[in-house]
């Protein structure tokens, strides 16, 4: 589904990403872990064609994402507040996303129903602009926006950060369902090893821009990862 070839990016001479090759198969739930500055967000931005690679490329369904924007039809993403339109109300934002992706109102309502619990009654009908919501609620809005477009590939950067424990738990359920029921390919980064090992089948560890570990999740994974980051 997503193929990364010899991808490199440096800022002012400091290498922030250097990946020789990485393949993400359709339907895979892919977790990305690493310390601050490991290049997680940079990798996601490169996959979403938000920054220009110094060398190499990213292919989505065998098309280079920089030259061909077909990937926008089937990719939903939320990295940070740059994906939110802060002067809209959440409802308007969801409408906008739905219209742009040709999602009907009926489909949107069904989706909203499914997320009702996740929203915890804090998002809909509040008559507030997105900019006036708390960080955690903004994150919920953004995650829903990414999923609303009914994507085949879902890319989320730190989705569990800033969420309260119940919401984290609900989000995990939602993500697992998306992966198993609709076969959505998921790319998720997280600092929290617990969450990511629970949701993802495959975990890749980045360190200073390099891929240092690539493991299929098992009961051993969490301990292995904890061992790695503690040392």
């Amino acid at each position: 589904m997503i193929k990364i070839n010899n991808l490199g990016k440096a800022y002012n001479g400091t290498v922030v990403l250097d990946i020789e090759s990485l393949n993400i198969k359709q339907g895979e739930s892919f977790g990305l872990v690493g310390n601050n500055g490991a290049g997680k967000t940079t990798l996601f931005r490169l996959i979403l064609d938000l920054i220009k690679a110094d060398r190499g490329n990213v292919e989505s369904k065998n098309e280079n994402v920089t030259n061909n924007s077909d990937w926008k039809n089937y990719t939903g993403s939320f990295l940070d507040e740059g994906f939110l339109i802060d002067f809209l109300k959440p409802e308007e934002y969801f409408d906008f996303i739905a219209k742009i992706n040709s999602i009907t109102t009926a489909e949107k309502v069904i989706m909203l129903d499914r997320f009702e619990e996740f929203f915890g009654g804090e998002i809909i009908g509040k008559n507030k602009y997105i900019r006036d919501f708390s960080k955690g609620n903004q994150k919920k809005i953004g995650i829903f926006g990414a999923i609303l477009s009914n994507p085949e590939i879902l890319i989320l950067d730190e989705p569990f950060a800033n969420l309260d424990p119940s919401s984290q738990f609900r989000l995990k359920t939602i993500l697992k369902e998306l992966n198993s029921d609709r076969n959505v390919t998921m790319l998720i980064s997280s600092h929290d090893l617990n969450h990511v090992t629970e949701v993802c089948e495959r975990i890749v560890v980045l360190e200073k821009g390099k891929l240092v570990n690539d493991i299929a999740t098992s009961t051993e994974t969490l301990r292995e990862l904890e061992g790695y980051f503690a040392s």
């Binding site: 979403l48 064609d49 938000l50 920054i51 220009k52 924007s69 926008k72 039809n73 990719t75 993403s77 990295l79 940070d80 507040e81 740059g82 994906f83 939110l84 339109i85 802060d86 002067f87 809209l88 109300k89 308007e92 906008f96 996303i97 219209k99 742009i100 992706n101 008559n127 507030k128 602009y129 900019r131 006036d132 477009s149």
Partner: protein
Amino acid sequence: MRNTLFGHQLAGAKRSPIFAKDIGIKVLMGFLFFIIFLELFGGGFYLGSKLAEESSNPLVDIIKYGFYFFGSVMLMRFALQKLPTMAVTPYLLLPVKKSKLVNFVLTKPLFNILNLLPFALVLPLLLGIRNYITSGEVLIIFATLLVCDLFVNYLTIYIKRIQIKYESVFYIFLAATLSFVLLDSFNIVDFSALSADAFGAILSNPLWLLAPVVLLIGAYYLNFNLLINHFTLEDFGKSESKNRGSLETVTYLQRFGKIGEFMLLEMKMIVRNKRTRTLLLMAPLFLLYGMFFYTNPTYKDMGGFLIFVGLFITGGFIMSFGLYFFAWESGHFDLVLTANNSYSDYVKAKYYLMVGSAFVMFLLSIPYAYFGVNILLINTVSFLFNVGVNTLLLLYFATNNEKHMDLSKGSAFNYQGVSGRHFVLMFPLLVGPMLIYAPFSLAGFPTVGLLVIGFLGLIGIIFNEKLLALITDKFISRRHRMAEGFRQK
């Protein structure tokens, strides 16, 4: 403590990323200030010596204009001066008295270079009339100038700060200024006589100087109170958003598909952010330009100048927000780049928005036909040129802008996120048509000149698809750099 605070501020200024980046602008600003100083100096001296020759009592003639002088100083400060601020939160945790911090913030404006400007005018003015005044009077004048200038300074700061929270204060200020001008120009209140009385009283009995001193203390106290009560709260960073949900029910544009969606989004953005909303409210002012120039017979036959006016009337609005394009979406630019839409639709939405607003302005300007069919013709060709050429040029050059723009802060006279290049760009947009017109006009065929301008506009309109495709290509090739710049807050 004061020295430590001062040291932190100095370090902050020296290490600011803006300082390193915009050294060119700093140099330019410095140069401009130097020129202004020289001009004020020369102007003051000229005025003074002229008065000394012609007036029987030059001092009275000068103090007559005291109110106007301080009024203009206030407007200048309002437009140019930045609010003294300090990132105060880190200090609040330390054992420092709050009042100390407030006083520190409030002494910052004392070191503003703008404070020197009034003196740069008054000092040479007094030199010019040196034979008519005593040294005692000079002292009193300087003392008055100092106290009144500081009063104006603190009053302006207070108004500017409070308007962050209460936007209406800005319009009240505008209305007050306007009524001052109106009251004066229709001679309802004789401000020059009042001014002469007030400053004359101080000159004859310096004890009256206490009055402005009291005003100054009052203004300082207002500022002090405002800051000390709102220090810890963040409520002076954010304004209460009113007009919640404006334009929410507009569905008309949805029939245009994704282009319509983007247009609607942009319109919501204009209405719901303070900085852009001010822009919208300024738009009617462009229409009023005609009132000034068409009624004045001097300009009646200056075709070239009337084209300039026509361009402003039909295009002033698009030019003022054309400066903001792309950059004003800094906040959600990543979404724009990843959303499921083609870049060409996105660029087109902006184009139609400009065309639409120019069209509205044109319709509103039609009543000016009352001043002659010629005016109507000029405004029509200006409209065509604006739509056919200027819109596309603005869009094309907007792709060069890669500075993050913060729409939530500041309103009028806020040029954060606008680079000097923009103002350079305005020049050809406004002057270009006049240059086209000039040779025809000189050769005695002014109407042909007008038609050529209109024709150029028509060409731009006919080939808009092709030209927009060019702009889209430029946008696509620049998108990474723009996105990167917009992320740097």
